[in-house]
């Protein structure tokens, strides 16, 4: 029988009952507080009452614990809220103790009823009560979360143990009557509070345990207390024990300190009492001494003693304030002392008023004054009471010490027992575990051994099958039908597809398909063929990209726990390719192919034959071959066919005859037919290949015609045409060629050139011909040919390789050559002539140069001398000469200067003819501007209107051309001198043949009749007195322009201005350098 459910039910019952009891305890206390019943609040009126908020907490916590058993959403929320409030408030209370402040947290809820006034402490929550509430509150919160976190449960469990233990400890303390335990220095815990905590701890612990175990039980149908839980429980108990020991130590130390304080206090009281007694004696002595001696000092002492007495009394009263018995005695003592003092005072009054005798009388009579003996007795009373108290306190101290030792011993024993029990439990648990582990290990070892055994046998069998798979000559693989991934491949597959095993195992079967096959593959896989499946021919792609045809057979299997397929792939690429190739060869053959069986029936035709005859394949198959022949040949054909079969040999059909085919539309066409017998399994067949030779026939005709045309053309050509064969034989000669060769066509044709022209093999012509025959490249040459009769002729030859040999085109250039040579001779003579002339010219030039040099040097020297000496003469002999003589000298000087200018300009002119020209591209606009700048002096500030046009760039010597402009512009400036509004225009005329430039002025002009003279050296049309000048400027212009290959001319009217033109050739780049 399993007792667990019963135990769990009992636990639940205990928890619930305890919870209700706690709530009841709390409720009773509250009622006590409300109705002012101390019994209700503290069970016994000797004990302190339960604090009112403690009572409320108990009610709340009891109900909460009960509610834990009905964990609806609201209940759990309520529990958490209650727990939170309790934790917060109790925490504050603990803080009050620890940090010594007082906000009266525990009095917020309940005011203290009057019945309790005077009781100290009045309904304050004890420190340990607050601590316990902290534990309980946190446990409640943790439990409300339990089921979610197991470790929370564990903490709550420990908490509840602590609470129950503390509750129990406080109860025990009450029963042992050890108030030092349940009460501490300030506020003790009430008995009913202790009971409440015990019950609450039990209730919560039961709740934790039962809930936890019932979960475990439901899950495992088995109940055991785990080791960690036991340790936790032990920890809880140990913690409680330590806490209890802690409380006891704390309390006993507090008590000891209190006793020590009280003892000191008692001793103080005793000392004070004896001091009082001596003061009284002093007072009596002093009063008596004064009366006897009448010394004032005695009176002062008396008064001091009275004061001392009252001081001592006050001190004693305050020291024994807490002792009502003593107070009573002190009051009596006080009155006695009062009377004594009054008596003393009276005595002194009497002494001073009536004299010593009266006073002595009074002292003797002692009217209504207590005696010293009375006072003594009373003081002793007080002393005795005080000593009694001291003894009593020492007793209590002793007892409590004894009790403490007892309780310490008890707790030590308890803790030891607990530890021993814990150790035993843990040890038992560990031993049990070790045994179980050992058994388990043994079992494992056995199982491993069994597995080893099984594995070995499995491996052996697997090895056999693996061999079948691995070394299968055909590619095999297994793939997962879900993921299509390869699971296993054999060596043949690896070799055939080129992927390594590792590569295969990362691929899917899609990866070995060409892209266009993947759709078909996925479709096929989706169809889920059961068992063996011949999937037909597929295209696969190898790693190197080649696509192969494979015949696939597959079988569904379970492999390595997966749905898979075993696939066998048979490469049929070669087979299908061979078939395909054969079919294509037949189909694509440019000749018509027909296969005929023994009976003459057509077995096979190709598309070319269909096209040729205009029949479709189906119309021909199984028909007689004679269908394709014209009527007239059929009989003969049947005979020939039978003849062929008796001697089957490959041959061309119908040699020497024109064969014709008959189309479906009845037309005939020329054919050529080749026949070959073939041996097939179904017997001998004849394979005929038919070629339509219509176009060939036409081409042959056309060729013939064209050949004739070319032959006629060649015959009629002006040039000689001949074709020499590779054997040096004349194959063709036209009339012209025969005539050139001083022969006739008949003599030449058919003979070799070696025969016709012996010795030709040594000529340059023959060498070229030979080259042309071998290298087949066109050669051209001009050759002098020596005829057998000794005469020679020049020929321009073109040797053209043609298929038959070499075609020679020859032109007789003998006459032309003769003319060329004559021309050449003439030209050479002419060149000689030119050279001769040039030499003459050069010589003349040299002479001229020498002349001009001597002019420049030798003519100038005398001039200079004339000038120099005439000058010197003027200087030295001027006074001696008359006016006339001086004028002569001046004329000499002017003439000399003019001569100098003439010589200089003449030199320039001569140099113009001699100096070398330096041609370059010349910007005429720039040139004109430069010339104008040069002439600024001659303009001499005159207001001339210049019109300068735009000019093209020309080729020429820039410095010479500048001189041209300088001369022309200088003239223009000079001859407009007499004009009031001189105008000069420089321009360019467009002319298709040459550049024409002009300089026009509105000057004095000249008579056009003398134009020719203008450009001559030293030619002038004006008197020197009119317009000075040397007559060389325009001669220079002409000379320069002429050297540039241009012309000069002028237009003018007298007084009507003049225009000077010069032209330069277009695009002239090279000038003669004369």
């Amino acid at each position: 029988m399993n007792r667990t459910p019963i135990m769990l039910a009992a636990g639940k019952r205990i928890a619930q009952i305890c919870a209700i009891l706690v709530a009841l305890i709390g409720g009773v206390a509250i009622a006590g507080w409300i109705y002012g019943s101390r019994v209700l609040t503290s069970l016994d009126i000797h004990y302190i009452p339960m604090a009112p908020n403690t009572a409320i907490f108990f009610v709340v916590l009891g109900i909460s614990t009960f509610l834990l058993w009905f964990p609806t959403g609201i209940n759990i929320l309520l529990v958490r809220f209650a727990g939170l409030v309790v934790v917060l408030m109790s925490f504050l209370r603990v803080c009050e103790f620890v940090f010594h402040f007082n906000i009266g947290v525990d009095r917020w809820i309940f005011a203290v009823p009057e019945a309790f006034l005077g009781l100290a402490p009045i309904g304050r929550m004890a420190f340990f009560t607050a601590v316990n509430f902290l534990f309980v509150g946190s446990s409640l919160i943790l439990l409300s979360f339990s089921g979610e976190r197991r470790n929370l449960n564990n903490i709550a469990g420990v908490n509840t143990i602590v609470v129950a233990c503390l509750g129990a400890a406080f109860c025990v303390a009450y029963f042992l009557d050890a108030p030092f335990f349940y009460s501490e220095a300030v506020i003790p815990m009430a008995l009913n509070t202790a009971v409440g905590f015990f019950l609450l701890g039990v209730a919560l612990f039961a709740t934790v345990t039962v809930k936890d175990f019932s979960q475990q039980y439901e899950a495992e149908k088995h109940l055991h207390v785990s080791l960690d839980r036991k340790i936790l429980a032990a920890f809880g108990l140990a913690f409680s024990a330590i806490l209890i020991v802690g409380i006891i130590s704390y309390n006993s130390i507090a008590k000891t300190l209190e006793s020590a304080r009280l003892e000191t206090h008692t001793h103080e009281v005793l000392a004070e009492v004896s001091a009082l007694l001596s003061s009284i004696k002093d007072m009596e002595n002093a009063s008596r001494g004064y009366i006897i001696t009448n010394e004032k000092e005695q009176l002062v002492e008396y008064r001091a003693s009275v004061l001392e007495i009252s001081q001592h009394l006050g001190r004693i009263r305050s020291l024994t304030e807490d002792n009502p018995g003593q107070q009573e005695r002190i009051r009596i003592l006080d009155s006695l002392i009062q009377r004594k003092v009054e008596f003393g005072n009276k005595t002194i009054e009497v002494f001073e008023a009536e004299g010593a005798a009266a006073a002595e009388r009074m002292v003797r009579d002692r009217i209504s004054a207590p005696t010293m003996i009375q006072l003594h007795a009373h003081v002793e009373n007080i002393e005795r009471a005080e000593r009694l108290l001291l003894n009593g306190r020492a007793d209590v101290q002793k007892r409590s010490s004894r009790n403490m030792v007892n309780i310490f011993s008890l707790l030590a024993v308890l803790v030891t027992c607990m530890l021993a029990a814990t150790y035993a439990v843990v040890q038992r648990d560990l031993t049990g575990r070790k045994q179980a582990e050992h058994a388990l290990r043994q079992l494992n070892e056995y199982l491993e051994y069994r597995i080893q055994e099984r594995t070995t046998s499995l491996l052996q069998s697997e090895e056999r099958y693996r061999h079948l798979f691995e070394y299968n000559p055909l590619p095999l693989w297994v793939f997962d039908t879900k993921t299509l991934a390869f699971i296993e491949v054999n060596n043949a597959a690896i070799n055939h597809y080129g992927y390594s095993r590792d590569e295969f195992l990362t691929m899917t079967i899609k990866d070995i398909r060409p892209a266009e096959e993947i759709a078909r593959l996925i479709n096929d896989v989706a169809q889920q063929h059961k068992g063996l499946d011949s999937a037909g021919v597929w295209k696969h792609r190898k790693k190197d990209g080649t696509v192969i045809d494979v015949e696939i057979t597959s079988h569904e299997i379970r492999y390595a726990g997966r749905d898979a397929k075993l696939v066998l792939a048979n490469d049929v690429t070669e087979r299908t390719r061979a078939e395909e190739r054969f079919r294509l060869v037949v189909e694509a053959s440019p000749t018509g192919i027909v296969m005929v069986d023994r009976r003459g029936n057509i077995a096979l035709v190709n598309s070319q034959l269909e096209k040729m005859f205009g029949y479709s394949r189906s119309e021909l198959v199984e028909k007689s071959i004679e269908t394709l022949l014209p009527e007239r040949h059929r009989d003969l054909h049947i005979q020939n066919r039978n003849g062929f079969l008796t001697n089957p040999q490959a041959r061309v059909m119908g040699v020497g005859r024109d064969l014709h085919g008959l189309r479906k539309d009845g037309t005939e066409f020329p054919v050529e037919i080749g026949l070959s017998p073939i041996e097939l399994s179904e017997g001998t067949m004849v394979l005929g290949s038919v070629v339509d030779i219509t176009t060939r026939k036409q081409a042959e005709d056309a060729l013939r015609k064209s050949e004739n045309r070319f032959r006629t053309t060649l015959d009629c050509m002006m040039e000689g045409c001949q074709i020499i064969g590779f054997d040096w034989r004349y194959l063709y000669v036209n009339e012209v060629a025969a005539t050139q060769g001083k022969s006739t066509k008949e003599q030449l044709l058919g003979r070799t050139i070696l025969e016709v022209y012996p010795g030709i093999e040594n000529t340059e012509f023959f060498a070229s011909l030979k080259r042309s025959m071998t290298d087949r490249i066109r050669h051209r040459m001009v050759n002098e040919f020596r005829f057998p009769d000794g005469s020679t002729g020049w020929f321009q030859l073109s040797l053209e390789p043609v298929p038959e040999g070499t075609f020679i085109l020859s032109e007789d250039i003998t006459k032309q050559r003769q003319m060329d040579e004559e021309l050449k001779r003439y030209r050479e003579r002419l060149e000689d002539l030119v050279k001769e002339r040039t030499a003459q010219l050069e010589l003349a030039n040299k002479e001229l140069e020498a002349f001009s040099y001597s002019v420049s040097h030798d003519l100038r020297s005398p001039l200079r001398h004339i000038d120099g000496f005439s000058e010197l003469l003027q200087k030295t002999a001027s006074e001696r000469l008359d006016e006339k003589g001086r004028r002569y000298l001046s004329i000499i000087s002017d003439s000399v200067k003019k001569m100098g200018t003439l010589i200089d300009e003449l030199l320039v002119f001569s140099r113009m003819g001699r100096t070398e020209m330096r041609s370059s591209h010349v910007n005429m606009e720039v040139l004109v501007k430069e010339a104008l700048i040069e002439l600024q002096n001659e303009v001499n500030g005159r207001n001339i209107t210049w019109t300068i046009g735009r000019f093209p760039e020309v080729v020429g010597d820039p410095s010479m051309l500048r001189l041209v402009f300088v001369n022309l512009l200088s003239n223009a400036i000079k001859y407009t001198r007499t004009r009031t509004q001189p105008r000069v225009e420089v321009g360019h005329l467009s002319d298709p043949n040459e550049h024409v430039f002009f300089v026009r002025d509105n000057g004095v002009g000249f008579d056009e009749r003398y134009t020719d003279k203008l450009f001559g050296v030293f030619q002038r049309l004006h008197a020197d007195t009119e317009f000075e000048g040397t007559g060389i400027g325009l001669a220079n212009v002409r000379r320069i322009v002429n050297r540039h290959g241009g012309r000069t001319w002028a237009e003018s009217k007298i007084d009507g201005g003049a225009t000077f033109f010069f032209s330069l050739p277009l695009d002239r780049t090279v000038y003669r350098n004369t």
């Binding site: 420049s856 030798d858 120099g868 000058e871 010197l872």
Partner: protein
């Protein structure tokens, strides 16, 4: 040593010599002019030969050289001077009637220091000679003798 700055004038024409000296005299330079009448004589003077064996050691401060001279012409004299390490630093001024381009080019190619065409007009001639004298004798700084 005679420290007078001497001018060597090589000129065959006596009229030219006279006019030149006249022009130099205007500048008070005439008494420092040594006149030679052809190229050979000029070279004799420079190399202290024959008639000029005892001439002072000092080289002329400038040589005025006519081109067209008997025996050895001016260009030849120029070539000899400019190719001799001891003489080449003497400034040479060609003084000639020739304005021929070829003469100019050859003279400059041989390293002439100046080329002056004798003007026909006497006044201009005098000016030219004065300038030459003034420049080469007074203004120009020759290298120190020993260097």
């Amino acid at each position: 040593m005679n420290n007078i700055k001497r001018i060597l004038l090589a000129e065959d024409n006596v009229n030219d010599i006279e006019l030149t000296l006249e022009a130099l005299a205007d500048h008070r330079l005439a008494n420092e002019v040594v006149v030679v009448h052809d190229g050979a004589e000029a070279l004799d003077y420079l190399y202290r030969r024959d008639a000029f064996k005892d001439r002072p050691m000092e080289n002329p401060v400038v040589i005025l050289l006519d081109l067209k001279m008997p025996k050895v012409d001016g260009l030849e004299v120029l070539r000899t001077i400019k190719s001799d390490p001891d003489l080449k630093r003497i400034p040479v001024v060609i003084l000639t009637s020739s304005r021929e381009e070829s003469d100019l080019i050859r003279s400059y190619d041989l390293g002439v220091n100046a080329y002056v065409v004798k003007p026909v007009a006497f006044q201009e001639f005098v000016e030219a000679i004065k300038k030459i004298g003034a420049f080469w004798v007074l203004t120009n700084e020759p290298p120190s003798r020993k260097s």
